[in-house]
Symmetry: C2
Subunit: 470 residues, 2 copies
Amino acid sequence: MVSMVQRQGDVIKELEAVFKDRLFTEPHILSLYSHDASSEVGVKPMAVIQPVSVDEVVKIVKLAIDYGFKIIPVGSSTSLSGNATPKLENTVIVSLERMNSIIEISDIDWYARVQPGIKDDELNLELMSYGLQWPVDPASSKTATVGGVISNGGGGMRGAKYGPASHWILGLEAVIGTGDVIRIGCRTVKCREGYNLVQTFIGSEGTLGIITEATLRLAPLPESFVGLMARFRDAESLVNAVIRVKRDKLWPMVTEFIDYMIAQVLGLEPMYYLWIGIDTYSGSEQQILSKLNNDVSLSGGEIIDKAFTWQEFSKILEPRRMLYSATLKAAFNDYGTDAFVAFEDIAVPTSKLPEAVREIQTLGQKYNVKMVIGGHIGDGNLHPTVWARRSDKDEMERIMKFFEDVGKLAIRLNGTVSAEHGIGVQKKGLLREAISSRNDGNSDYVINLMKNIKRVFDPYGIFNPGKIFD
Amino acid sequence: MVSMVQRQGDVIKELEAVFKDRLFTEPHILSLYSHDASSEVGVKPMAVIQPVSVDEVVKIVKLAIDYGFKIIPVGSSTSLSGNATPKLENTVIVSLERMNSIIEISDIDWYARVQPGIKDDELNLELMSYGLQWPVDPASSKTATVGGVISNGGGGMRGAKYGPASHWILGLEAVIGTGDVIRIGCRTVKCREGYNLVQTFIGSEGTLGIITEATLRLAPLPESFVGLMARFRDAESLVNAVIRVKRDKLWPMVTEFIDYMIAQVLGLEPMYYLWIGIDTYSGSEQQILSKLNNDVSLSGGEIIDKAFTWQEFSKILEPRRMLYSATLKAAFNDYGTDAFVAFEDIAVPTSKLPEAVREIQTLGQKYNVKMVIGGHIGDGNLHPTVWARRSDKDEMERIMKFFEDVGKLAIRLNGTVSAEHGIGVQKKGLLREAISSRNDGNSDYVINLMKNIKRVFDPYGIFNPGKIFD
């Protein structure tokens, strides 16, 4: 034990020599980095470093190889599955928050090169002046960093049409577990240079290396837009409206919802709220709106607001972005700092949505849990969220059973146990169940492929231990 | 030598017992499978098998492990880089042409499950009756199979907006080099179940396993469409029109071109032809058309045809689909069966297109080669194609130098040496150069990552040897 402490002291000294006032070992700062936005409980890391260059990142990785410490690369730690929560004390948190520049925006080529620490909204604000967007838009876009979104493979609000993060990343620079810097991918949408290493990084939750630069694919902001906010008496009517829209072959960029409980917390009438936003060219707005009108009213809903630009729509969408904070507020109202919140994140094929929503409500009653539900309903992505008093063993058990059962429900309905939050710590069991369900009851050989890929990039097991399958 | 022939006899006997009349060893059939649509010269494989089930595919792989023979999985062998050309005699071609069913189409969930041997156009014809499309559309879509398109990571005509194959594949079933069947990915667009193994398969050119089923993401067919065919006196004017369209923030689904020589072969006036197709909703057509009109005429072009549905547009696009066959026709007119055709496939950022086209024409003159050029100009993807008399060593050398120099040009312009055709045999050198150019003059560690990933899926080195980096 003494020699380990001794050794840890040596590491800190070496790191201090390089990083000076960008190395933190003060207990209150270590506490801040001992967890992420999920309720997962972590341990204090041994240090937090804020590098400012790829060379500094290489130095950290080489020291980790020499001294055997672990690294968790983080952006804003907005993970809701415990992806960024340290579980081992010999961990150094590498926070990319100071590597947050935009290196280049090309308004003809529709790409941007950025450092990983830039926040999603900051980037999109800048892109707006070029008439462009990076359409990867998690609800946490004000806080989430681009590097975090990439590592997490996030989807978000514009994913139903534009696809998840993986469709919007052209190239990466990253430091892998050997200390080598690799520059992979291209600046063009088409890029067929051997195996797609960029895609292997996307959604790898910081387990393969540290992303130090990204080349992002951009899209033009829609020339015109038709957006609405509607409300419904029950979840099933809302889901039916979504299905009608798909049957009409309208292809919304955004289809979001929240339930009556969240609405209440936000000061809205306690009903189910739906947002649909369709990107289009000028001249088509009225006919799209009349179809949407029809779809909503035939499903028993009522349109309560409309928008005809993306900017206007972003404003009326604001309550949906509050799902996370409103849930936390409800949980803290109930239990104060003793609250534990579990964020589910399943997706099911659209046709299974009515059954999924019904069953989730039944499970909520069965386990007698406090639950809200919302999500990206256009791509079948639901976020049922439950909370309990940490100190109440029975209630904690009930929300954990609910969490597991919702995952199993997703599997039964041919869906996924993780749509965009990733596996982190909290979904490791469900990941195995999902893979088993498709592979004749055996998850081992698929998980082993992943473990072997991990070894290819991180042969010494430095990065984010204890996550996904570890 | 005798024992190898003996052993080969034993293999054939074992295969015959299982596959009966779906095993072929007749020399003229082996000849057919000794090459692909590129001019790459291959060797006769020892046998061709047409399995009809995943179990049969497993049997073949297990025999390959036991007997040490190699496997090349093929669809219609439309590769233009030699991806499907056998280079070793102890190769069994596994042709998926009989595994060509559509298993399921879900018109609400917008996915289809298919076997790999179905042809791209056959699938899209069926989907049309649902108002849906699989928007991965290589020029060879009449012949190319879905499995081949996936293995090749193809892009095609609708890629500038809709992205390449990798955006349209949700899940795969494949037999890997251990003989295990893996089912990876989901039926939903969002799917974050650990590392993205599906993406590793896409574009892997048959080197990691044999795809036996695919779950494809679908999109609605556009409600309305504005398409045009225009012609220009020179390439630069055409490219400028494309840049104007992007500056206008129009986001075409299709932007294609051919040059004056191909036009001539097709019986059109010898000019440069551009096709632009924009998917939209009804009501916006006239204002889109007026913008396009402006962009074309300000660039010195002339609109010669228009279309207002995708189906109509497909018809006027037909000459562009003939790029491959028209080039072959020109080459065979010149040299008969002695013709060797080299298909380049670079992409550069849009802003570099004028320079790229100019330099390619200069290189064509420098090496005094017969050249045509066309491609998916909306995503910067150019296909300069040259031919020579195989028996003319000097001319062959000149086209090879041209081929190499065009690849180097792409690297210099921050583009890629392979946009959608893959590496196969013909781009192995250029792949290393492209990777070196971004990685401080060293391609080894990136290539080694790929070699190690290959080992994860194919530990015995069974699949498609001699390709990409091998």
